[in-house]
C-alpha cells in the first residue's frame, strides 16, 4: 500500500457519512447503482481498479448492488525507485497490489494486465515528444483515451462484461435516443469530465461512472462502510509516471536537457533557460530574467517554440480570440457551425463562451467570445453545453485576431 506521509486516523464510517450528509439506507444506494449501471443484478461487470479509494469504492458498491464484479488493473510502468513510498501516484506496482488486496477483501476476481508497452508508446513517448517541441501535453487525457477507453474496454468486453465501471467523477447517462450524455461530476472539487472528452459514443454506452453524482466525502464514507481497505488512502495527483521528478527533469532524462533563449515579442533575447519542459504558457515566475522597467508590468511565458525558444510578453499577449483543436472527437452528433458553447482549456479552469467558426472531421476552429488567457498548445480544449461535455480535442493554436498571441505556432 502506498505509504502516506501523514496517515489519516481511521474514523468510524457512521461519522464520515454523517459529515457527508448522506443518511441514505443501503437499499437506496443499491437502487442508485442499478440505475447508473442500467443492468439487472447478477450481470457481469468489470471495474477499472487503480488501487485508490474511488475505484475501490465503486467495486464495493457494485458488489453490494448484486453484480458479478471483477477488477482490472493495468500495470503501466515500472517503479521509479525515487517514488517508492511517495503518495500521489496511481497505477504503480504497489497500487496494483492495493487493488488486488481490495478485490480479495471484496471476494471478487482481479486481474492485472501488463500494459507497460502500450503506456510507454501511447502516453510517455508522446508526453516527452510533445513537451520537447514546446507543447504542454495532458497525459491523463491520453491515458484515458488509450488505456481506459481502448485497452480496458476491450479487455472487459473480451471477458464477457456488460459494462466497465470506473471511479471517475463525471455523470454518464443515455438520452432518449440511446446516445451517451457526459456531464460534469456533481462534486465541483472532483469533477473529472475535462479528462474524459475522448469518450466516443460506442465506448460511452459501455462505460459507467457510478460516482458522478457523489461527493468525495460520501465516497470515503461508503468505502469505509463497505470495509474497503484503502478508504484512508490519500488522493492521487500529478502526472503519475513522472513521480518524484519534475516534467523538466523527466523530459531531460528521456531527451537530454535542451537549453534555449528567452526572447520578448520583438525577438530581443532577454535571457537563457535550461529546457522548455520546465515552463508552461502563462507562467510568470521562475524565468530567471534580470529585472526590467517596472512600468512595463510583469512578463509571462506566452509561447514555447519547437526550436526551444521561450517567448515572454505582457499579460495581454496571453489572450486568445481564436482557438483551434486537433484530434477532435464528439460524443454525439457534431454541432453545426455557428453553435455557441463553452470552451475549457484546463482542469478546474473556467469555461468561456465560444462559437464554432469552422468544423472538420477531426478539427474545429472556435471564436472565443469571452476572456481566454494562456491556452497552451497541447492542453485539452473541452467543449461544454452547460454541464454537458459535447466533445473536445487538443489545442493546436490559440491566437489573438489582429495581433500576436500566446500559443501561436
Amino acid at each position: 500500500m502506498t505509504v502516506c506521509a501523514t496517515p489519516l486516523p481511521p474514523r468510524p464510517w457512521t461519522d464520515l457519512l454523517a459529515e457527508a450528509g448522506d443518511a441514505r439506507e443501503p437499499s437506496a444506494i443499491i437502487a442508485e447503482m442499478r440505475a447508473v449501471m442500467r443492468l439487472p443484478a447478477g450481470a457481469r461487470v468489470a471495474v477499472a481498479m487503480s488501487g485508490g479509494v474511488d475505484s475501490s469504492a465503486v467495486a464495493a458498491l457494485l458488489v453490494e448492488a448484486g453484480y458479478e464484479v471483477f477488477g482490472l488493473t493495468a500495470r503501466l510502468y515500472d517503479v521509479d525507485p525515487a517514488s517508492i513510498g511517495r503518495a500521489g501516484t496511481c497505477c504503480a506496482p504497489e497500487d496494483a497490489r492495493d487493488a488486488r488486496n481490495v478485490a480479495w477483501a471484496l471476494g471478487i476476481r482481479h486481474y492485472t494486465l501488463d500494459e507497460r508497452e502500450v503506456f510507454a508508446r501511447a502516453v510517455i513517448a508522446r508526453f516527452v515528444a510533445d513537451y520537447d517541441r514546446g507543447d504542454t501535453p495532458n497525459p491523463c487525457v491520453e491515458c484515458n483515451r488509450t488505456l481506459k477507453f481502448e485497452v480496458l474496454v476491450q479487455e472487459a468486453r473480451a471477458l464477457g462484461a456488460e459494462a466497465l465501471a470506473t471511479g471517475h467523477y463525471a455523470r454518464l447517462e443515455l438520452d432518449g435516443a440511446g446516445q451517451p450524455q457526459l456531464r460534469r461530476g456533481l462534486d465541483p472539487h472532483k469533477d473529472q469530465s475535462y479528462f474524459l472528452h475522448p469518450l466516443g459514443a460506442d465506448v460511452g454506452r459501455f462505460v459507467r461512472f457510478p460516482l458522478g453524482a457523489w461527493h468525495k466525502s460520501q465516497v470515503r464514507g461508503h468505502a469505509a462502510r463497505l470495509g474497503v481497505p484503502v478508504a484512508e488512502k490519500r488522493e492521487s495527483m500529478d502526472v503519475c509516471f513522472v513521480a518524484a521528478s519534475t516534467p523538466r527533469e523527466f523530459v531531460a532524462g528521456h531527451r537530454g536537457a535542451r537549453p534555449g533563449a528567452i526572447v520578448d515579442l520583438a525577438g530581443t533575447q532577454l535571457g537563457q533557460h535550461a529546457g522548455i519542459a520546465g515552463f508552461a504558457v502563462g507562467q510568470r515566475h521562475g524565468l530567471g530574467l534580470p529585472p526590467h522597467q517596472p512600468e512595463a508590468g510583469p512578463l509571462y511565458v506566452v509561447d514555447k517554440r519547437p526550436d526551444g525558444t521561450i517567448v515572454v510578453g505582457p499579460h495581454e499577449a496571453l489572450r486568445a480570440t481564436t482557438v483551434q483543436l486537433r484530434d477532435l472527437s464528439w460524443i454525439g452528433e457534431p454541432p453545426p457551425v455557428g453553435t455557441e458553447l463553452a470552451l475549457q482549456v484546463r482542469h478546474r479552469g473556467k469555461a468561456v463562451p465560444a462559437r464554432i467558426r469552422e468544423s472538420h472531421a477531426d478539427s474545429v476552429t472556435l471564436s472565443v467570445l469571452g476572456e481566454l488567457f494562456a491556452a497552451g498548445r497541447g492542453q485539452s480544449g473541452v467543449l461544454y453545453a452547460g454541464d454537458r461535455v459535447l466533445g473536445g480535442g487538443i489545442i493546436s493554436s490559440a491566437t489573438l485576431d489582429g495581433g500576436d498571441a500566446g500559443g501561436k505556432a
Binding site: R44, F70, T73, R75, P93, A96, R100, R109, Y111, T112, L113, D114, R116, Q154, E155, R157, A158, L159, G160
Partner: protein
C-alpha cells in the same frame, strides 16, 4: 469449477489427506528427540522416506527431503558444483526449456562466472540431441535436463541423456517434478545421478519434495544441520512428508489411470479443432514422447493470458505459458525456445488434466470455448 491446471498443482488426493489427517492427531514428536514421541515421529519419517524411494525406482539410493523441487534443484546444482569446485573448474549443460527454478540457478551461476550451456529444442520442444552431444564435447561437471516438460508434456530420454553425460564425465541431474504418476520412474535403472521431486504435482501437499541421490553421489548441503544425514538442516516437515509418501505410494495406480487421461486429452484436442478452430498445437510429438495429460494450444492472434482470465470467469482453471500475479506478462520461454515469435508465444494456452478429469468436464470446456473466443478476439486494428 473445472480444474485443468494439474501441472500447476494437483488437488490434495484422498490418500495424502487421510494420512495427514491421521498423523495430525497422532504424531507431534520431533524426529530428532530421543523419547518415545520422537522415536514415533522418526519411524514415520523413515517409513515415508522408504516409500518415496521405492516409488521412484531409487533402489540403493538416498532420499533427502526438502521443501519442494525448487530447493531440491538448488541442492543438486549448488551441492554438486560446490563439491567439485574445490578441485576443478565447473561447467554446466542444461536445456532451454527448464522450469524457471532451474533458469534462475543458471542465471545465478552465470553471474558468478560459471559457464552454463542451454541446449536448444526443436519446434515441438524436442531436445536437439546433436547440440546436446556437441555441448558435452567440452569437460562438463553437471548436466541437468528435466524429465517431463511442464508446459508441453514432452518426455525427455533420461537414460540416453544420462549415458551421454556420463561418457563426458559429467554428473546427471533431472528435474523430475512433473514425472511422478505420469511416466514410469526408475532413476536407478535410467542411470540418473540426482533427481528432484515434488509432492504437489501428484496429489500430495505443496511445500514438500525431495532430492534423490544415487548411492555414493555427494552433495554439499545448502543448509547446515544434522538432519537428513547432514545434507539438509532443519526440523523435518513430518506432516508434509507423510502426505508425500501417501501420494507416492499410489503412483503406480495414478500411472495406470494415464491411458484414460490421454483419451480425455485427445477428446479435448479433437473437440476444440471441430468446435473452435482454427488452432495450432504446441509440443505435438509422437504419443510415446509425451505424457498424454497436457494440451498446449494457440489460437492465432488471441492472447493466451486473456483466455486464462476469460475461462477463469467461467470457473475453468487453465494456464498460459508463464503468468505472474505481479502484473508482468512475459511470453513463455518454452514457446520462444521452440522458435515462436513473442506474439505467437503469448498465444499459448495450457490445459493439464489429471485422473480426476471427467468426460463431462472436457465436453463442457469444448462447448464453452467458441463463446469465450468470440468475445476474446482482438479487433483487426
Amino acid at each position: 469449477m473445472i480444474y485443468l491446471d494439474a501441472n500447476a498443482t494437483t488437488p490434495l488426493g484422498a490418500p495424502a489427506r487421510d494420512a495427514m489427517t491421521a498423523a495430525m492427531a497422532q504424531f507431534f514428536g520431533n524426529p530428532s528427540s530421543l523419547h518415545g514421541r520422537g522415536q514415533a515421529g522418526r519411524a514415520q519419517l523413515e517409513h515415508a522416506r522408504q516409500t518415496v524411494l521405492a516409488a521412484v525406482g531409487g533402489a540403493g539410493g538416498k532420499i533427502v527431503l526438502t521443501s519442494g523441487a525448487t530447493e531440491a534443484n538448488a541442492l543438486a546444482w549448488h551441492g554438486v558444483l560446490a563439491d567439485r569446485r574445490q578441485r576443478h573448474a565447473v561447467r554446466v549443460v542444461t536445456s532451454a526449456v527448464e522450469h524457471p527454478s532451474i533458469g534462475a540457478l543458471a542465471a545465478q551461476l552465470r553471474t558468478s562466472g560459471v559457464e552454463v550451456i542451454a541446449v536448444p529444442v526443436d519446434a515441438q520442444g524436442r531436445l536437439d540431441m546433436r547440440a546436446y552431444a556437441a555441448a558435452l564435447a567440452e569437460p562438463t561437471t553437471l548436466v541437468s535436463i528435466m524429465a517431463v516438460q511442464n508446459e508441453l508434456g514432452g518426455i525427455y530420454p533420461l537414460a540416453e541423456l544420462a549415458r551421454l553425460a556420463h561418457q563426458a564425465g559429467a554428473v546427471f541431474h533431472t528435474d523430475a517434478t512433473q514425472a511422478p504418476g505420469r511416466i514410469p520412474l526408475n532413476f536407478h535403472g535410467m542411470g540418473v545421478d540426482l533427481a528432484s521431486l515434488s509432492a504437489h504435482k501428484a496429489g500430495g501437499p505443496a511445500g514438500v519434495g525431495a532430492l534423490w541421490l544415487r548411492k555414493g553421489q555427494r552433495v554439499t548441503p545448502l543448509v547446515a544441520g544434522h538432519q537428513e544425514d547432514g545434507l539438509r538442516g532443519g526440523t523435518e516437515n513430518l506432516l508434509g512428508i507423510i502426505g508425500m509418501a501417501a501420494a507416492f505410494a499410489g503412483l503406480s495406480q495414478q500411472l495406470s489411470g494415464m491411458a484414460q487421461v490421454r483419451v480425455l486429452r485427445d477428446r479435448l484436442w479433437r473437440g476444440l479443432v471441430a468446435a473452435a478452430g482454427p488452432l495450432t498445437r504446441n509440443g505435438d510429438v509422437a504419443p510415446e514422447d509425451e505424457t498424454g495429460h497436457v494440451l498446449n494450444v494457440a489460437w492465432p492472434g488471441v492472447d493466451g493470458a486473456r483466455l486464462v482470465r476469460s475461462l477463469d470467469l467461467e470457473d475453468v482453471c487453465v494456464s498460459s505459458g508463464a503468468a505472474c500475479a505481479s502484473g508482468t506478462q512475459e511470453p513463455s520461454h518454452v514457446l520462444l525456445a521452440c522458435g515462436h515469435a513473442p506474439a505467437e508465444a503469448r498465444a499459448g494456452l495450457r490445459f493439464s488434466l489429471s485422473a480426476a478429469t471427467t468426460p463431462a468436464e472436457i465436453d463442457e470446456v469444448i462447448a464453452l470455448m467458441p463463446r469465450v473466443l468470440a468475445r476474446g478476439r482482438r479487433p483487426a486494428s
